[in-house]
């Protein structure tokens, strides 16, 4: 069963002669990201009230959302005042295919989340739980979210285990640590794992982290694939 699946997937490997594999590929927050696709491809950089409403109404045109986390005056806030509502709308939309979490922060070193208070950490994790509750998302990107709270990534990634639709995950520049790598290994090993594309560029993996990840990779290759 595994081989059959692999052979099928192999044929889908993109060896596009025009693709651009620049070393800066992982920093993909450029204008191109906003112009991809045709009429049915909609990107919102701000979750305004109209977007909330359309999300809530299961608007079929919203298939790709970029949620920008802002950092101003010492604390985070979501674009909407009620971040729980943001998450609920995202969770309940049945057409969403791609969710990209970015941050808007003027400082060169990114968010630097270390030391943020527990309340805020819980808020973030609760918001991210919308991903676990959505059954249509195929691609999630946390590219360049420099959150380095101890165990944050571990808890976040662990929740992705057995996600019913997720097939592409980008955590480039994430400080995963051994807990994050271990959680990622478990995600890969999960019997319902559908991940086909995993991006960990600039993740500073040490031998321990790489080993934990590779354990999952081995498990992923031997698991029985449930369609």
């Amino acid at each position: 069963m595994e081989d059959t699946n692999n052979n099928q997937d192999n044929d889908n490997i993109d060896i596009d002669h025009n693709d651009n594999n620049d070393i800066s590929d992982t920093d993909s927050n450029d204008e191109d990201a906003y112009t991809l696709g045709g009429d049915n491809y909609t990107v919102y950089t701000m979750l305004d009230k109209d977007t909330f409403h359309r999300l809530k109404q299961n608007d079929t045109s919203i298939i790709d959302i970029e949620v920008a986390l802002h950092f101003i005056y010492g604390s985070f806030f979501f674009n909407s005042v009620d971040w729980k509502e943001d998450g609920d709308y995202i969770a309940s939309n049945a057409h969403l295919k791609s969710l990209r979490i970015t941050h808007h922060d003027g400082r060169p070193n990114g968010l630097g989340m270390q030391g943020r208070n527990l309340t805020f950490r819980q808020q973030l994790q609760e918001f991210f739980s919308c991903i676990y509750r959505n059954n249509s998302i195929k691609h999630i990107s946390f590219n360049s979210i420099y959150i380095d709270i101890n165990d944050f990534w571990g808890v976040l990634i662990e929740g992705l285990s057995g996600h019913p639709s997720l097939d592409s995950l980008d955590i480039s520049h994430g400080k995963l640590g051994s807990k994050g790598c271990e959680a990622l290994g478990k995600v890969l090993e999960h019997t319902r794992c559908k991940l086909k594309d995993l991006r960990l560029s600039y993740c500073q993996l040490d031998d321990e982290g790489l080993g934990l990840l590779c354990d999952g990779l081995v498990g992923n290759s031997t698991k029985e694939i449930i369609p």
């Binding site: 060896i15 002669h17 992982t26 991940l195 594309d197 960990l200 993996l205 031998d207 590779c214 290759s221």
Partner: protein, 421 residues
């Protein structure tokens, strides 16, 4: 897991053992290991040897410390289809020669190969020519900056030898990048029959080849006459292209329907004097909008839209504006806009064309004039309403809804001008 990106992950010590053994049993087919310069050459050799037991199809190993031995290990990955080895500058020409020979002897059929910014030398170039001659599957080849002043770079003679070898091959690429090299006039002349034979070539990069003179670049015009010419992008920036070459190119592109980009930025001589002057710009301007008559405007090139990044206004006239119009997919509307903007602008409405038109053509002409505004239009878009207004003023009978009492105008004397709408 099919695609795994571990670019610049700072892995080191045991990476070859940990990752290599996992990949041997994994389903990964697309692997990005670029910019992991913390892995030593010896470790790369071990890791790439492990990969020979996998079924990797796409491998990105840009900017690493792979040496000759590592490259030899890589050549044993028989399943490879796409290989990126950009800037692995520890590898010697001898290492490249061995690699190319090994790949050829193993019959590996790549679709994409990038060895840019390496020093393969004439020794490696000769082996590369032999390999490419046997690799009919190859569609993308990047040989950017493999000459340089380094003694291990390919010389002008090396390029001539490579092109001569390839001229008896069946190579049919879609994307060929030969930028930033030392290809001279003779090299260009040898390249022309090679690329002219290719049916699939969509993109050709020859930028920054400073050894070639205007004479050499003019010889490239023979390629533009090829019946197989399907090029969409031709990059010639920072080359010694002059007015004569540009004028010749413009002549040959008059009826071309494929070339969208002809990049010619930074064409200057040794004293930094621009080689393309008013003559060259005028030729390009006439190519995309021949203003001498409506039909000539209609028959201008509506495909080419990318020529220069920063136009000198005093030299280019309406060239930039017309190139912007050409960015639109609706070529019928592009032609209409060029005609409206050139021949029927508010200042110089050339009404005679309509006044002399056969009456039965008038409904079509009016429909052409009154077409609605295009959504998402790139560049200037003028409405035909001003022209319609002028037409109403000059031919009020056509728009008079009251019962006709006047005699119909004579049809036979009207000039026949057909605008294909």
């Amino acid at each position: 897991m099919i695609k795994l990106s571990l670019q610049n992950t700072s892995v080191d010590n045991e990476a070859d053992i940990i990752l290599g053994s996992a990949l041997r049993v994994s389903a990964v087919r697309d692997l990005n290991l670029s910019a992991n310069d913390s892995i030593s050459s010896a470790r790369w050799q071990l890791l790439l040897h492990q990969l020979s037991y996998t079924s990797i199809k796409k491998l990105d190993c840009r900017m690493n410390k792979i040496d000759d031995a590592g490259l030899e290990a890589l050549s044993s990955i028989g399943t490879l289809k796409s290989l990126d080895l950009y800037y692995n500058n520890i590898i010697t020409p001898s290492g490249w020669r061995s690699f190319f020979n090994s790949v050829q002897s193993r019959g590996i059929q790549l679709v994409k190969l990038d060895i840019s910014e390496n020093k393969i030398g004439n020794e490696g170039a000769a082996a590369l020519g032999s390999l490419l001659g046997s690799m009919s599957s190859l569609k993308t080849l990047d040989l950017t900056d493999i000459s340089g002043d380094d003694p291990n770079g390919i010389t002008t003679q090396g390029w001539q030898t490579l092109f001569t070898t390839l001229n008896v091959s069946n190579l049919d690429l879609a994307d060929l990048n030969l930028g930033s090299n030392s290809i001279d006039d003779e090299g260009i002349q040898l390249l022309v029959p090679l690329v002219s034979r290719m049916n699939s070539l969509k993109r050709l990069g020859l930028n920054c080849n400073e050894r070639a003179t205007p004479t050499g670049w003019r010889a490239l015009s023979a390629f533009l006459q090829s019946p197989n010419f399907a090029l969409q992008e031709l990059h010639l920036f920072e080359c010694k292209l002059n007015d004569d070459a540009i004028i010749r190119f413009a002549e040959l592109l008059a009826n071309n329907k494929t070339l969208k980009s002809l990049s010619i930025d930074g064409c200057i001589d040794e004293d930094d004097i621009p080689l393309i002057t008013e003559r060259g710009w005028e030729a390009l301007s006439n190519l995309v909008c021949d203003e001498t008559s409506i039909m000539n405007t209609y028959n201008s090139n509506h495909i080419l839209h990318d020529v220069y990044d920063d136009f000198p206004d005093e030299l280019t006239g309406n060239l930039e504006s017309c190139l912007n119009l050409n960015r639109n997919e609706d070529k019928t509307e592009v032609a209409r806009q060029k005609i409206l903007q050139t021949h029927f602008s508010d200042n110089t409405p050339n009404m005679q064309e309509f006044l002399g038109m056969e009456l039965e053509m008038m409904p079509s002409a009016m429909a052409w004039i009154g077409r609605p505004t295009h959504a998402n239009w790139k560049g200037t878009h003028v409405s035909g309403l001003s022209l319609m207004f002028n037409l109403m003023r000059r031919l009020p009978d056509l728009f008079d809804s009251s019962p006709r009492t006047q005699k119909k105008p004579s049809i036979g004397k009207r000039k026949r001008v057909i605008l294909q709408v």
